[in-house]
Amino acid sequence: MTDFTLWDIVRNLLLAGRWTVVLSLIAFAGGAAVGLVLTLLRMGGFKPIRWLIRLYVDVFQGTPLLMQLFLAYFGAAALGFDVSAWTAASLALTLFTSAFLCDIWRGCIEAVPSGQWQASRVLGLNYLQSMRHVILPQALRLAVPPTVGFSVQVIKGTALASVIGFVELTKAGTMLNNAAFAPFTIFALVALGYFILCYPLSRYARYLEKRLYGAGIR
């Protein structure tokens, strides 16, 4: 067995940490794109679509992310698709993120006072024009703090991708520990890695929230 210096451990964790960051970014960007489309469709008038999207949101919010990852990975294989851990993890995390963002953003749109719709309507703006010029800009301001806050959940969620063999921070920690047998040091460092990624985001979310309410927007 080779000897691991602390630096070896840190270096390996940092290398794997890149993939945590990349997977988080993919999940967040993909989730935001899908979530935005779902939010807009859900706000539209067509009942069956609204119902389907609600079901989608409920399913992803009501099942563990771990199961979603298993289903994406092993389920796809059972259906005859050959998906890599990368694809499965990206897919599952994207869907998971989209469901939560859809719900957060719907709440923000509904939080815009109904008087704004009315004012916009009596000035002659139609639904899409009202959305674009009056409702969404206000909803967007409300949405920034909870969205940034949720990004923390996405980063921590990527840890679960380790169970399908995706080598990110957590998986790298496990592998290093198998070789180096220094569980406390290694997992403390892994935790520190997540903290370094998440802490600035949650601080930023809290700051944004304070600023929003301080400005008396609502």
Binding site: A119, R121, L123, G124, H133
Partner: protein
């Protein structure tokens, strides 16, 4: 021909019949004050006039055009009937001038420079020109309401509806908004005002309409109506508010 012509207007919410047959003709340039107890259907009447509520029966004509039914899109409607509410509902993320320019830009597709000119004109009318770049949150209630009036005027409506536009204001801010309405009246703007300001109704309006239980119970010129009410209901109402 009257500018606004309402015939046999009926409106129910479920089992509750709120408007039980309203007939009203309003000439161009006329200022009509609508008074009456809370719940008598005043707001519902105004909301039917600009189709925020669909009435069940009757017709509304503006100039020669049928206003109700599917004849007019919201865009066309806003160029015929403007409305201002008790709550100003300015767009908080836009400056004063952006609030006023939005509908001309988006609905009428007015070129930006021209929309800006229109906005400056109407803001001047309501005395808000110097606050053109302020955000609504930086304005007093009275100032916000004046901007809301300017925003409605920017679409150049043929008639302006005002639903208790001073009711949400602190007493010391009521006067500035009433002054704006008075100057619009003097300019010949056709106004239909639901108001609790009896002095204003008496001094500024050409005609007062008293609504009671979903009907026009009594109407006439302000002097006679306030001094010699014909019905006990109006006499009682006047006694209760003066």
């Amino acid at each position: 021909m009257a500018l606004v012509s309402v015939k046999d207007l009926h409106k129910s919410f479920g089992d509750l019949e709120v408007l039980k047959g309203i007939d009203l003709e309003i000439e161009s340039g006329e200022v009509v004050a609508v008074i009456g107890r809370s719940g008598s259907g005043k707001s519902t009447f105004l909301r039917c006039l600009n189709q925020l509520e669909q009435h069940d029966w009757g017709t509304i004509h503006l100039a020669d055009q049928r206003l109700d039914g599917t004849a007019m899109s919201p865009g066309e409607l806003s160029q015929n009937v403007g409305i201002v509410f008790q709550s100003f509902n300015l767009f908080p993320h836009k400056t004063v001038v952006e609030n006023v320019m939005l509908a001309p830009l988006v609905v009428k597709q007015t070129p930006r420079a021209e929309a800006r000119k229109i906005a400056e004109e109407v803001l001047d009318k309501v005395g808000m020109l110097e606050k053109i770049d302020a955000y609504p949150a930086q304005l007093s209630g009275g100032q916000q309401q004046r901007v809301a009036i300017a925003r409605a005027l920017a679409m150049d409506p043929k008639v302006l509806l005002c639903d208790e536009v001073t009711s949400a204001l602190d007493p010391e801010l009521v006067g500035e908004v009433l002054l704006v309405l008075e100057s619009l009246a003097k300019e010949g703007m056709t106004l239909i005002l639901v108001t609790h300001e009896m002095k204003f109704a008496r001094d500024v309006s050409h005609r007062v309409v008293f609504m009671h239980q979903g009907r026009i119970h009594e109407s006439g010129d302000p002097q006679t109506l306030f001094t010699q009410p014909k019905t006990p209901e109006l006499a009682q109402f006047i006694a209760s508010v003066l």
